[in-house]
Amino acid sequence: MRKASLIILAWNRWELTARCLDTLRRTDLEGAEVLVVDNGSTDETPCRLAGLEAATDPAGWGPAGLRVVTLPRNVGFVRGNNAGIAVADPAADIVLLNNDLEFLQRDWLQRLRRCAHSAPDIGVVGCRLVLPSGSLLHAGTYILPDTVWGQQIGSLEKDIGQYPGVYDVEGIVFACAYLKRELIDAIGGLALDFESYFEDTDYCLRAREAGFRTVLCGDVTLVHDEHGSTRGDDGALMRLFQGSRQIFRKKWGAKLEARYRHRLLWQSIMNFPSGYAMSCRELLKALEDERVKTVYRYVYGPGTVFSPSEPEQSGDYRLNVISARRSPRRPAVAVVYGQGDIFARNRGRYKIGYTMLEVDGFPRDWVRQANRMDEVWVPSAFNRDGFLRSGLERPIHVMPLGVDVRYFHPGIVSYPNPAGEYLFFSSFEWGERKEPWLLLKTFNDEFSASEPVRLLCKIINRDPEVRVKEEIRRLCLKPSGGKISYLFNLEFPHYQLGSLYRSADCFVGVSRGEGWNMPLMEAMACGLPTIATDWGAHTEFLHPGIGYPLAVRRTVPAIAKCPYYTGFSWADPDPDHLRHLLREVYEDREEARRRGQAAAREMAEKWTWQRAAQRIRARLEAIAG
């Protein structure tokens, strides 16, 4: 086991240092030495540290005990940490720690160490940081050349267990940073260009240039009372921040810009609650990670099939930057991602139309506009075949969508029914395509009220002409039948939806057709067994090894309010088979669990947004020749 030197930088605020040391001491510090660097404190810190050092029980601080390094004045974060690195065991790894941390995870150090040594090219390891309130503060960082303003991933969301496992990041904040000795030997300590701020991103970028990766170990979470140690003079902090930012821009601005391999105009919809918008947001972020520099422009608005103007703010820093980028008048490549009757607004010299539909063909106007594209993308073979049947004459490529397995995975926090009922869950917008009547009626018929089982339906209805209550009443569901509860028109933050899935035992979707079926994919990524109609785009990723495909009796005319469906067909799910599958899952829970777990593995391996962005990047490379 490689020894680790833990360096805690302290400057006044003794109560924070005392809390930090107190909680640290209770953790497993085998193979560690603890160095406290007093950065010229003027309060009781020097006196208290001296007393602690003298009185230290070596057993409580590991074999090397606790050492104090006293600096005569505050030399700043960078020099203070470098002073600690200079006196640490020269063979040991280094762990930089802020004194406003709390350690509530006993094996945090062992986990970080294991992670650091799991691959020879890992140089820097960070961890999840949460605020004392429990909000997620940090799961890695990224920085865009446009603004040169580092951003923390996962900022201030409720901690529901997002960002598990180990994954590569651009940077981490050095409130807790495990630095492997090989890296320190290669690039030394923190750069003296900075007094405070940006030194952490700078270090991670230097590590990358030296061939070392920076990773986030999501299995370690520490409490960080952010700025607890420097709180008090916001003006001084901002001056310090802006000074470091200028230095960083000069040092790294051009290099960050040079990392992009492709440029792309992305015309779509982003700031509305629609499937295209949600997937657009995820694709743009994933493309950025794949070093595709995208410029986003809203493709709808006045004069189109969807006339409202788009709200400017996305609620996501990175997406706001992507939206604010300047766009050339005639970009080399442009993608219109939306309905096929908006393709004509494509502004690129090389035009790509990217769309999907829930029926077995495409409207004439969509095909006409698609035939003016250089190529067409759809997420599924189901749509590719439908487009070709409808008369598409341009090249067409299957470019699947994905799921964010950092937010949809089996470890997400759940809130199951404490009464222990088995819970089927379904999520849909009320309407013809989702066939809610079939699910409610079949479930109510198949089960009895005395059985410990329930169906929970998350229903959205935005159509003022639809009376959901009345439609449910007309179903005459039996009080003695299967119990059903409803979440009606509740809008949950998207990042929390994994908790909803994880609180259930099985996901059911009995729609007549899907263009992709994001809720199904999210439920599968969460490790739920799923029952879904065996027809439509999601057959791309649903199969009997990882779920329960629901048989289709035949295809029938797609009769619905949506004008795009006219003249096409969709599925007629088999009610008897639905009854059978509901009962089978309820009774053979072991097999259901097995399929759910297999689904989670397959989603994480094959169907992430990153995979989707990689396919797009590969296609852009082919187009560029």
């Binding site: 409720k158 609650p273 926090v413 759940s414 809130y415 199951p416 029914n417 404490p418 009464a419 222990g420 009922e421 088995y422 819970l423 929970l456 959205i460 209805n461 935005r462 159509d463 003022p464 009376r467 959901v468 209550k469 449910i472 009443r473 509860s485 409803y486 979440l487 009606f488 028109n489 509740l490 809008e491 949950f492 933050p493 929390q496 939806l497 908790s499 909803l500 994880r502 609180s503 035992d505 829970r589 669990r593």
Partner: protein
């Protein structure tokens, strides 16, 4: 004077205090019971009615209580599910068992 002796008046007042204490105790018991059995929404509803405020509109988990609207209500998964499970729990139900499905 009303003709009662001081001792009688003291006894009368002590009796009243005892009665008020008993009523207060009973009231506390009822409040504790309500707090342990009602879901958060119903507690808020109860407090509002007690304070003379109009009740909250019904909504949530049963169609009978919905107001048929197309507006979406911002919600939190933990709070919503906690409320849902509490709303399903009978006052007379035995203590809750373990989680469902071996999660």
């Amino acid at each position: 004077m009303d003709g009662h002796s001081d001792a009688e008046r003291i006894a009368h007042l002590e009796g009243r205090v005892a009665a008020l204490e008993g009523a207060l105790k009973e009231r506390s018991r009822v409040l504790r019971l309500l707090q342990s059995q009602l879901c958060r929404r119903d507690l808020i509803l109860f407090s509002r009615i007690e304070a003379g405020l109009p009740p909250l509109p019904f909504g949530d988990f049963e169609p009978a209580f919905w107001s048929e609207t197309v507006a979406l209500a911002p919600s939190d998964v933990e709070e919503t599910l906690t409320d849902l499970w509490r709303s399903l729990k009978s006052v007379a139900a035995p203590p809750a068992g373990g989680g469902a499905g071996g999660r």
